[in-house]
Symmetry: C2
Subunit: 291 residues, 2 copies
Amino acid sequence: MALQLPLRLNNVPPTELSIWHDRLMQGDCRHVLPDIPDNTIDLIVTSPPYADNRKQTYGGIKPDDYVEWFLPIAAELRRVLKPDGTFILNIKEKVVDGERHTYVLELILALRQQGWLWTEEFIWHKKNCYPGKWPNRFRDAWERCLQFNKQKKFNMYQDSVMVPTGDWAKSRLRNLSETDKRRDESRVGSGFGKNISNWVGRALAYPTNVLHLATESSNRSHSATFPLDLPKWFIKLFTQEGDLVLDPFMGAGTTALAAHSLGRHYLGIELLPEYIELAEQSLLISSKGQG
Amino acid sequence: MALQLPLRLNNVPPTELSIWHDRLMQGDCRHVLPDIPDNTIDLIVTSPPYADNRKQTYGGIKPDDYVEWFLPIAAELRRVLKPDGTFILNIKEKVVDGERHTYVLELILALRQQGWLWTEEFIWHKKNCYPGKWPNRFRDAWERCLQFNKQKKFNMYQDSVMVPTGDWAKSRLRNLSETDKRRDESRVGSGFGKNISNWVGRALAYPTNVLHLATESSNRSHSATFPLDLPKWFIKLFTQEGDLVLDPFMGAGTTALAAHSLGRHYLGIELLPEYIELAEQSLLISSKGQG
DNA sequence: GTTCCGCATGAATCGATAG
DNA sequence: ACTATCGATTCATGCGGAA
């Protein structure tokens, strides 16, 4: 799989939009995004470089400059997103001088000024967060996953992310006697065992806006601890098969891999060639595994 | 126990500050707080009425007016708090017109303007959140516990809230009889947790900034949605025995009860007499149980 | 005396209906 | 158009009666 450079294709007819499917593009997303036509993306999932991090790539955006830096990118994201699409922004403010910095709060307010709707804030609870001890704070075990939309009506496929119900129903189901279970099987619809049917029917429930995911513990060569299950969850929730998922800060390709593994098309932008390389390898392995 | 009305005691000498110990005061905290001397409170834990709620009491603060309403109160709280004290604000923004309203974000920014330091944001994960299903969002299962301080150096007693090897162990110990029999899928290791003895003697770990607590259930005489363990946790973390804990929106007295049960002094302000009555009863029962 | 099941009930939110 | 109210939806929990 050869490295694909960004093409200038603003004037392709809509029927050729599939040219934007399953491509990884190397470059600064501020320069690459303008090439993508309007209203082509179903879902954006991204974890942009945090303030003061990744100094070597995006010049180490200072917390005070973060909003100013991100706004033009967000404008482009809004342009390329379909009207019923969703933008998921995984971000967490860092501690500066003993305080939580406010650039994420200010970013939310600024994005609303830009026309985005701040629909929801999911909490990603990191079960095995980074260890450490400080005299005035505990380990930071959560990050924000901010949901923005272009309009109030957007695509959401809630059934695709249902989860088993809580302990209560579980423990009651577990304790049903064997005779009850057999009786239920042998007399379907007879009135016996109706109880059990109720419980079985309620085995799944809709999740909440709190996601419990461990950070990736694999031995990948990159430092981004973006677990595969995180983009997967949002991709299942906000897209269908064949839809197009964009990550403008792709890193080692987690979002692209998640989309690909779920039968969605991906579009990844990443500045560093070595990350592009890594992502292509992951996708290649994934495809081989399927074939 | 007779209902104690707020006294005018601004000019009591410091040696008589104990007069502010263990009192419940009925009234609007906007009017009661000015009576409390400067720098007397070690910890403030409160959950003010959320926007548009409690219409009958605080006039139903509209989301757009929330910051303006709260700022004068926060100024008083800052005045009565000791320099090395902490202010914990439990709050959550509601959905307005399909969007998360931004008044909590704006409140954080405004409090910083007022001189508060926004030290940390704890997440209270509500295991049993309010049910419901909507086409565009899931159940809301978390609330913010915002930590504000007057200065960078503040009292924090981290050892008092240590838990057995991670948060998940805490919940496991809580309903051991239930979880005991279920297979745990934590990556910590298979076969663990079948017996309490596996936990006894294991090293304690510091918690994270994510708290897993269920809301207090309904049948407990009143709708104290604030679980007792929530103020307890912060009281243990930020105070020592004999310190003074203030809740300017006391409700049914959860914070006062938590402080009292932990050997701290309490100071509660509540507008509704029936809540004062309830709180006094709870505290009385608690005292009898101890004696 | 245990365990088990039925039931009410929440810091909610949406959409429709009514003024 | 803008606000106020109401019904429908949904699930973890504790309590009390039943097995």
